[in-house]
């Protein structure tokens, strides 16, 4: 059955709300508006305004309220409209949600789920388009996941809700309208990376919206005889080193694709781990394709030029094999 990413997110929310009366969804315009990306359309009608709670524009406040509610018996799913807005709530996420268990000597775990949209490609310019996942992945005390497939858009919510610690879910804005043929939507896991395409010559490591660019690049490169293995990180914290290293030890080459800015990116972390764990297996320096270091511009051609593109990935891979563009 053809299912969209948006429908998968919606159905995951609906099923979680049906399965457990302690689950509540709160955030800006999740109720009457139906969600900025229409992911919660119809849920207000089914579950009522107590459980589908429209909040004021108070990111710091309602994320903190989610933490308190999680501590006291509810299972809140807090939606923050975009990652850029989540900066207003960063204090509560970093200083409270992530720190509370440790700071209290293990007494208070925070079973909170925070969902937010991330990424560029819709010409939304410099305050709605960034990929700040690496910042979140820096923080001990939270888990960070990035569903890139329709299966994971549905499947990651249940394990995130079952997790006793805070889980932050990043949904790339360009994925909501993508679709896939899926047999059935079922819970997946939030612990492992996945090999989305097997290959022997080079490992492409990507996540979220970049996964599909990496897959396209792999298809293109296969025509020229380069067989790419594509890894979908899925979980950005804690990183699944084993899956990455196992692949690199086999292919001896790696390119990391990350829509975040290059400096301090998750790509940098993955590269460092490959260096630490598989240096002597490498036949070439690890390469990366990241966003250009500018606040995201509005004009379409500039925005596209700022983002990792399939062509950049293809070029980076060819470069590892000594092929100049």
């Amino acid at each position: 059955m053809k299912t969209s990413y948006r429908t998968a997110v919606h159905d995951a929310l609906r099923d979680a709300l049906r399965d457990d009366p302690h689950v509540v969804l709160m955030g800006e315009d999740v109720g009457r508006y139906g969600g900025t990306y229409a992911a919660s359309k119809g849920l207000l009608e089914e579950f009522g305004p107590d459980r589908i709670r429209d909040t004021p524009l108070s990111e710091l406040g309602f994320v903190g309220i989610g933490i308190g509610a999680a501590l006291n018996g509810l299972r809140p799913i807090v939606e923050v409209m975009t990652v850029n807005f989540s900066l207003l709530a960063l204090d509560q996420l970093v200083n409270t949600a992530a720190a509370l268990r440790h700071m209290s000597g293990g007494q208070f775990s925070v079973p909170l789920v925070v969902r937010m949209a991330t990424g560029a490609g819709r010409q939304l310019a410099a305050q709605h388009s960034h990929s700040l996942e690496p910042w979140y992945a820096h923080i001990p005390g939270i888990k960070v996941v990035a569903p890139a497939t329709v299966e994971d858009a549905y499947g990651m919510l249940a394990p995130a809700l079952a997790d006793p610690d805070p889980v932050v879910i990043f949904e790339h804005v360009q994925l909501y309208n993508t679709s896939a043929d899926v047999e059935a939507l079922t819970p997946t896991d939030i612990s492992r990376a996945a090999v989305r395409r097997g290959g022997t010559d080079v490992t492409l490591v990507a996540y979220g919206g970049s996964l599909w660019k990496a897959m396209d690049a792999a298809n293109e490169l296969s025509l020229g005889g380069i067989d790419c293995e594509v890894i979908d990180l899925r979980v950005l914290r804690p990183l699944d080193d084993d899956t990455i290293l196992e692949s690199v030890r086999k292919t001896h080459r790696a390119v990391v694709i990350d829509e975040a800015w290059r400096t301090g990116s998750l790509a940098a972390e993955v590269m460092a781990r490959v260096m630490e764990g598989a240096f002597y297996d490498l036949d070439a320096p690890v390469a990366r394709v990241c966003s250009k270091e500018v606040p995201m511009p509005y004009a379409k051609h500039l925005e596209q030029a700022a983002l990792p593109q399939t062509a950049n990935i293809v070029a980076a891979v060819r470069n590892l094999f000594g092929e100049q563009q």
Partner: protein, 331 residues
């Protein structure tokens, strides 16, 4: 005051806190306690009066100046002192220190050292109580400095909008660290700000423990009866420095001296002796028992042990073996 039992409790609460903190200051100078140490000396009537108005299963969210609240909510002085020493027998296993005292069994949610950081948390705790139909109150303590933070305004707005059972307890000691109230607020009557969110308010003399208790009782009753929020401004004063690092360049010694004349412990003691509610022997008994409690707490902390460094990274995430805490049944 005719209620001898309550008078005894209130005086005892204040004296236990005062003597414990005096000991902490001494232990800080002796380098037994390190980090930040924010003393509550002068403000004891607020915690003593207000916490006595709560029921055992109510929740408390406090600030980094929370030794009093932790102690008076029933965390043993031994485990508070051990926490100050950084020992693993401490109430936060030595991971928190002075600013981060916690006790899940007492529904004591810390110990938050981000100014106003506890307010959204308290509103969330109250949201869960409201949705799970628990008739419990969440008392949230914060200072005048917190009222300037966005988190204060967002929290009061949502607590009022959703009618949630939070008792907001503003401990206005006139300084946000070193910045005087009139230099941080365009409106220095803080009840006006709370009232603008349609939260009912009271302002009370925070140096008068009975007045604090009465106000808190009124607030708690309101919250329990209506299920909605209430705001109390306790007008109080910190006698000692903001922390042990503060040279106090921002206020006159004469001002501090003037407030010291209104010492809540001395004035309440004098009042109880004058009207015969308590005797000299009662007061002596309270002091003796506090001294013994402190001696035992310090001995406990001294005898405490350092957590193994191999355990450094524990309690960042919940271990998989540990069953997740089961939420209360839904309605």
């Amino acid at each position: 005051m005719t209620d001898t039992k309550l008078a005894h409790e209130l005086l005892s609460d204040m004296i236990r806190v005062r003597r414990m903190e005096e000991k902490c200051a001494e232990l800080y100078s002796a380098a037994k306690i390190r980090g930040f140490l924010h003393l509550y000396v002068g403000e004891e009537a607020v915690a003593a009066g207000s916490l006595r108005a709560l029921a055992d299963d109510d929740a408390v969210v406090a600030t980094y100046r929370e030794h009093a609240h932790a102690l008076l909510r029933g965390i043993p002085m031994t485990s508070i002192m051990a926490e100050m020493f950084g020992k693993q027998e401490g109430c936060s296993r030595g991971r928190g220190g002075s600013m981060h005292l916690f006790d899940a069994s007492k529904r004591f949610y810390g110990g938050n050292a981000i100014v106003a950081g506890g307010l959204p948390l308290a509103v969330g705790i109250a949201l869960a109580d409201a949705m799970l139909q628990q008739k419990r109150v969440t008392a949230c303590y914060f200072g005048d400095g917190a009222v300037a933070e966005g988190a204060f305004h967002e929290s009061l707005n949502m607590a009022a909008l959703w009618n949630l059972p939070v008792l907001f307890c503003c401990e206005n000691n006139l300084y946000a660290m070193g910045t005087a109230l009139e230099r941080e607020h365009s409106q220095t009557d803080l009840t006006v700000k709370a009232a603008s969110y349609r939260v009912p308010t009271l302002a009370v003399d925070g140096m008068d423990v009975e007045a604090c208790h009465d106000a808190a009782q009124q607030g708690v009753d309101h919250v329990r009866d209506t299920g909605g929020p209430f705001f109390i401004e306790f007008r109080t004063y910190r006698f000692r420095a903001h922390s042990m690092f503060d040279p106090e360049l921002y206020r006159d010694k004469a001002e501090v001296e003037q407030w010291r004349q209104r010492d809540p412990i001395r004035s309440f003691t004098q009042q109880c002796l004058r009207d015969g509610t308590l005797s000299d022997a009662d007061v002596r008994g309270i002091e003796d028992s506090a001294a013994a409690e402190i001696e035992a707490a310090v001995a406990f902390a001294e005898a405490g042990t350092w957590e193994d460094v191999e355990d450094l990274e524990r309690d960042v995430l919940t271990p998989p073996s540990e069953p997740e805490p089961m939420p209360e049944p839904a309605r």
